[in-house]
C-alpha cells in the first residue's frame, strides 16, 4: 500500500520532470550506442557501419523514449498536460475566438447563476432563517376583479381576531426608511411589522431581544423600537454588542435598537432583503387606508402572518 503510493508520487513527479528525465535517457542511450559501435569496430566494421549496426541493435530510440515515458510516468497525465499546452497555444493564436468563447461562457454562467439564485430565493427557500416556512402563508386582499386592495389596520385586527384557520397573524409593510440625522441620512429598506412578527416566524435573535409580550399589543406608536438586520449590524455598527440599547434616528424619530436578527434572515418577502424591522415605524404619517395588505399565514391550525406591501 505504502509502496504503491510512493510509486504513484514518483510517477507524478516524473511527469513534471519529463525534459530532465528525457535528457538522462538520451545520454544513457548514447553511451550504449557508442559501446556497441566500438564493439563492431573491434570486429572490423568501419566507423559509419559500426554506428549504423549499433543503432539497429538498440532499436528505435524515439519509440524507446515514448515507451520509457509511459513506464516511468502517468501516460494519461502526460497526455493531458500536452493537450492543455496545445489548447493554450491555440487560444494565444486566435485571441478573437478566445475572447468570444470566454465572454459567451461568462455570460452564460452568470445568467444561470442569477436565475438559480432567484429561483432559490423566490421558490425553493422563500423565507431563509425561518423555522417552519411551510407553515407560513401570505394573505392579501383582492377585489373581485383581481386588483390589489389597501387594507386598514382595523381590518387586520378583525381578521386576526376572527380568522379561525390561523394560529397567529402578523402584519408587515415594506418601507424605505431614512436613517440618520438631517445632515447625513441613508435610505435603508425595512419592514413595519406588528409585535408578534418574530414570534410567528419562530426566530431567535442573534443578540439582544425581539419584541416582548407587553410590546405585542398592536397599539400604534406605542413602542419606538427597532430590530436591525445582521448585515446592517456588521457594516454600520462593527458587530458591536454595545449597539443594543442605543438609538437610531429613523425619519424624524429616535428608535431604540433592541436586537439583531439572525444572519440568515432577510425579511418576510421572498427574494427581497430588508435590514430593519420596527413596530410600525413612522406611524405618525401612516394612513391605514393607504396600505395594501398581504397576509403571511400558516396553513392548518398553526401560525398566521401577514405582510403589507407598500400602498
Amino acid at each position: 500500500m505504502f509502496g504503491s503510493l510512493h510509486r504513484m508520487a514518483g510517477r507524478i513527479r516524473a511527469v513534471f520532470q519529463s525534459n530532465e528525465l528525457d535528457r538522462d535517457l538520451r545520454m544513457e542511450l548514447e553511451a550504449h550506442i557508442q559501446l556497441l559501435a566500438e564493439e563492431h569496430i573491434r570486429k572490423g566494421a568501419s566507423q559509419e557501419e559500426a554506428q549504423r549496426l549499433a543503432r539497429i541493435e538498440l532499436g528505435g530510440v524515439e519509440q524507446l523514449r515514448e515507451a520509457h515515458r509511459d513506464v516511468r510516468a502517468l501516460p494519461w497525465l502526460d497526455t493531458l498536460l500536452q493537450d492543455l499546452r496545445f489548447a493554450f497555444r491555440l487560444f494565444r493564436k486566435s485571441p478573437g475566438f478566445t475572447a468570444i468563447a470566454v465572454l459567451t461562457l461568462a455570460l452564460g454562467i452568470g445568467a444561470s447563476t442569477t436565475i438559480f439564485s432567484w429561483v432559490r430565493s423566490v421558490l425553493l427557500n422563500p423565507l431563509p432563517g425561518v423555522a417552519n416556512p411551510e407553515r407560513v402563508a401570505a394573505l392579501e386582499t383582492l377585489a373581485p376583479n383581481g386588483e390589489w386592495l389597501p387594507t386598514s389596520y382595523l381590518d387586520f385586527r378583525d381578521l386576526r381576531d376572527g380568522c379561525k384557520l390561523s394560529e397567529k397573524m402578523s402584519v408587515t409593510k415594506p418601507m424605505d426608511l431614512a436613517v440618520g440625522n438631517e445632515d447625513s441620512f441613508e435610505r435603508v429598506w425595512g419592514e413595519a411589522v406588528s409585535g408578534d412578527f418574530f414570534d410567528l416566524l419562530q426566530l431567535k435573535p442573534e443578540i439582544g431581544r425581539f419584541f416582548s409580550r407587553e410590546e405585542v399589543d398592536h397599539e400604534q406608536n406605542a413602542h419606538p423600537l427597532v430590530v436591525i438586520g445582521h448585515s446592517y449590524w456588521a457594516s454600520h455598527l462593527h458587530s458591536d454588542p454595545q449597539a443594543i440599547g442605543t438609538t437610531l434616528r429613523i425619519g424624524r424619530f429616535p428608535y431604540t435598537i433592541i436586537g439583531v436578527a439572525p444572519a440568515t434572515f432577510s425579511g418576510s418577502m421572498a427574494g427581497l432583503s430588508f435590514q430593519m424591522w420596527a413596530q410600525r415605524p413612522c406611524t405618525a404619517n401612516w394612513r391605514p387606508q393607504a396600505i395594501r395588505r398581504s397576509l403571511i399565514g400558516n396553513g392548518g391550525p398553526s401560525a398566521f402572518s401577514c405582510a403589507l406591501p407598500p400602498g
Binding site: G3, H32, L35, V71
Partner: protein, 113 residues
C-alpha cells in the same frame, strides 16, 4: 535469429536483478551484454527494453542508479541491486523454479501418453 526465444513477460526483471546481484554495478549496456552471454545467445533481447525494465525496477526501489564513467570514458548510469531487490530476487527465483518444475513435470506427463 529464428531459433531465439522471445523473453516471457516479467522474466526480464528477474534476469536483470540476477545480473546485478552476480556482477555488481553495471550500466545498461553491460546488463544487456551479460544477459545475452548467459543465455548463450539463445534469447532474443531487444537491448532497448532493458531500459524500460530498469525504470520499472527503479520505481519499485529494487535497484539504485548512479551516474559514473564508462570504460570508454563516457558518462553512463550504473545500476546496482538494493536490499529490497535482493529479497525480491530470492522470492522470484523460488517462484520461477516452482513454476518451471511444474511445467516440466506437466510436459513429461503428456509426453508419456
Amino acid at each position: 535469429m529464428e531459433n531465439k526465444t522471445e523473453i516471457l513477460q516479467g522474466t526480464l526483471d528477474l534476469m536483470v536483478l540476477q545480473a546485478l546481484q552476480a556482477m555488481g554495478p553495471l550500466h545498461g549496456y553491460g546488463i544487456a551484454r551479460r544477459i545475452e552471454q548467459l543465455s548463450e545467445e539463445s534469447l532474443k533481447v531487444n537491448q532497448g527494453t532493458v531500459y524500460l525494465c530498469l525504470v520499472r525496477l527503479l520505481q519499485k526501489k529494487w535497484i539504485k542508479a548512479e551516474w559514473g564513467t564508462s570504460e570508454n570514458n563516457r558518462k553512463a548510469r550504473f545500476y546496482s541491486i538494493s536490499k529490497a531487490g535482493q529479497k525480491q530476487l530470492v522470492q522470484e527465483t523460488e517462484n520461477w523454479q516452482r513454476l518451471s518444475g511444474t511445467i516440466g513435470r506437466l510436459l513429461q506427463l503428456s509426453g508419456t501418453r
